[in-house]
Amino acid sequence: MLAFVIRRLLQALLVMLVVALIAFTLFRFVGDPINQMVGIETSVEDRARLREVLGLNDPLPVQFGRFVWNTLHFDFGISYQFKTPVIDLIGERFPATMELALVSALLSLMLGIPLGVYTALNRRSWLSQLLLALSLFGISLPVFLIGILLIFAFAVSLGVLPAFGRGEVVRLGFWTTGLLTASGLRAIILPAITLGLFQMALIMRLVRAEMLEVLRTDYIKFARARGLTDRAVNFGHALKNTLVPVVTIAGLQFGSIIAFAIITETVFQWPGMGLLFLKAVQNADIPVMSAYLLLVAAIFVAINLVVDLLYVAIDPRIRLETRSG
């Protein structure tokens, strides 16, 4: 068990190193740190001197080491577009994205799981067919299209919900939250639904598929043969066995949510990291791109690690050592 944990940690570290390498390559070679910092008039000698001062002529491993060191101290360099430290830009926008992601994830779980269970247990009901059809929409429609349609329906036509922005936010230490104000709550509804609809449809279909598989197993057949009630069979046995793989997949999907936030933030002009990243891509702002990559990679790797460990904790087959009986 301990060996497993250590192995996973090393794996995670390896992935982070690879990502850091990619980020470093981007940072150092794709962008030109010099040209973006100085004007056109700067002389060649001044540029050369600047190169020396910034350590751009040092051996590559040294530069990489310095890069990693800086990263660990949250020093991501200066944005080409805004000429401000990248960490400030990210720090300002991090809470917005996180809140949006968490609310979406919660929404998708709270609706996706019950609906998935319902459609598995009531395969032939018209409601199940309807829900399945709708879920197909949910996973077929691109996120931006959902956002636009929602805006069109609720903001333009009905005028009941805002189409952009975060509403009023409350500052709590280094975090800003929109969940404590009325306008903030209203502002997060459409973006959260947009971001969470795909996940919800996915989870619903996943739960349904898993549950149908589980309901076909021998141990469910045996449970029925023992005369256990439908409730015990469906919710006691089947549901528990269904949720184990579902929970892990849902956890991994959280990373997806953070990535898709890019799109949602664009549609709703939500002031988060995603929008920042997009502008960086559009304007070839390498430091921001590289920093976003590192941060998001760290989050993903952390999620993967937690999910793997969680799986071991939940499934007794993996947790306990097998003893012959």
């Binding site: 390896l14 794709v30 990679a297």
Partner: protein, 317 residues
């Protein structure tokens, strides 16, 4: 008791070949599911319309002589100020929305199919190599797959695009944008193919006929392509159909975000992003019609994929 023999229909093979074809399980399940038939029909219509767009589009939206700012911002033909020439209205440049949708759908489909083909080819080659050669090569490829799997496709596609943009600046022409799009979408989705193919290769590798082929001296590539590959086509097809829907969405999303196809050669995603700007001023048709087309297209592709998955699933047959 003289029980008559079982009331079973005569074997299909005794009937004509057409009847036998229609009786085949896969075709049967296809025709039985009305939804799938409709989905296939819709897909066919859109695909045909898209590819015949130069012939059936009432206007050529890229011919600058035909496009005039005087025609811009016109609502669909059935509205009060509509014009019969422009069935679904015009955009801010005066281009006919209907024609642009046809051309846009064509480009969206082409990018999607090419991206899937690229991803499949790359994934199959890497999967075969990893499975057959094993050892360090296998480890390397699978580690790369693991690292890539931690990231959603959109992120990878955006990253590649941003890098190319930084490297080449604004000196990129339309054709380059097109291929960068295909490659970035393809690169973000090869892993599923590689994993499946690798799995099958590992299984087939140890079978006797492979050993025999090696003894004869057949080149590994020949063995892989002639023997292993046919066994994997089923799952690869299933992945490809799921992938096609995702690829189309990915392209549309990238175009919407402004890093895909430009307004001069718009895909459905680009059109929606243009139309987005005019939603609030009441000119909904510029965004909504391309949006509906995109939605219907992806939905149809997904339905076909669903059916194909069920039909090829041995457990459900």
């Amino acid at each position: 008791m003289d029980a008559p023999s079982q009331p079973v229909k005569p074997d299909a093979r005794s009937q004509g070949r057409l009847a036998a074809f229609l009786d085949n399980d896969i075709v049967y399940s296809f025709l039985r599911s009305k939804v799938t038939v409709v989905a296939a029909a819709v897909t066919l219509v859109i695909v045909l319309a898209a590819f015949l767009s130069p012939f059936i589009a009432p206007h050529d939206p890229f011919d600058l002589r035909q496009v005039s700012l005087l025609d811009s911002h016109m609502p669909p033909a059935w509205a009060a100020e509509g014009d019969r020439r422009f069935l679904l209205g015009t955009d801010d440049q005066g281009r006919d929305v209907f024609s642009t949708i046809l051309y846009g759908a064509r480009i969206s489909l082409i990018v999607g199919v090419l991206a899937v083909a690229f991803a499949a080819a790359l994934g199959i080659v890497l999967g075969l190599t990893a499975g057959y050669v094993g050892g360090a090569v296998d480890s390397l490829i699978m580690r790369a797959a693991d690292v890539q799997l931690t990231f959603p496709a959109i992120l990878i596609a955006l990253l590649i695009d941003g890098t190319v943009r930084a490297l080449f600046g604004e000196g990129r022409n339309e054709e380059m944008v097109f291929w960068v799009l295909v490659v970035s979408i393809g690169l973000s989705s090869w892993v599923a193919y590689a994993r499946t193919v690798r799995g099958s290769t590992l299984v087939e590798k140890n079978k006797d006929y492979v050993l025999a082929a090696r003894l004869i001296g057949l080149h590994p590539a020949v063995i892989l392509f002639r023997h292993v590959l046919p066994n994997v086509i089923g799952p690869v097809l299933v992945i490809a159909t799921i992938n096609l829907g995702i690829a189309i969405i990915l392209e549309a999303t990238l175009s919407f975000l402004g890093v895909g196809l430009p307004p001069t050669q718009p895909s459905l995603g680009t059109m929606i992003s243009i139309g987005n700007k005019f939603l609030f001023s009441g000119e909904w048709w510029i965004a909504i019609f391309p949006g509906i087309t995109l939605a219907v297209l992806v939905l149809a592709v997904n339905l076909l994929g669903d059916w194909l998955r069920d039909a090829l699933n041995p457990k459900l047959r």
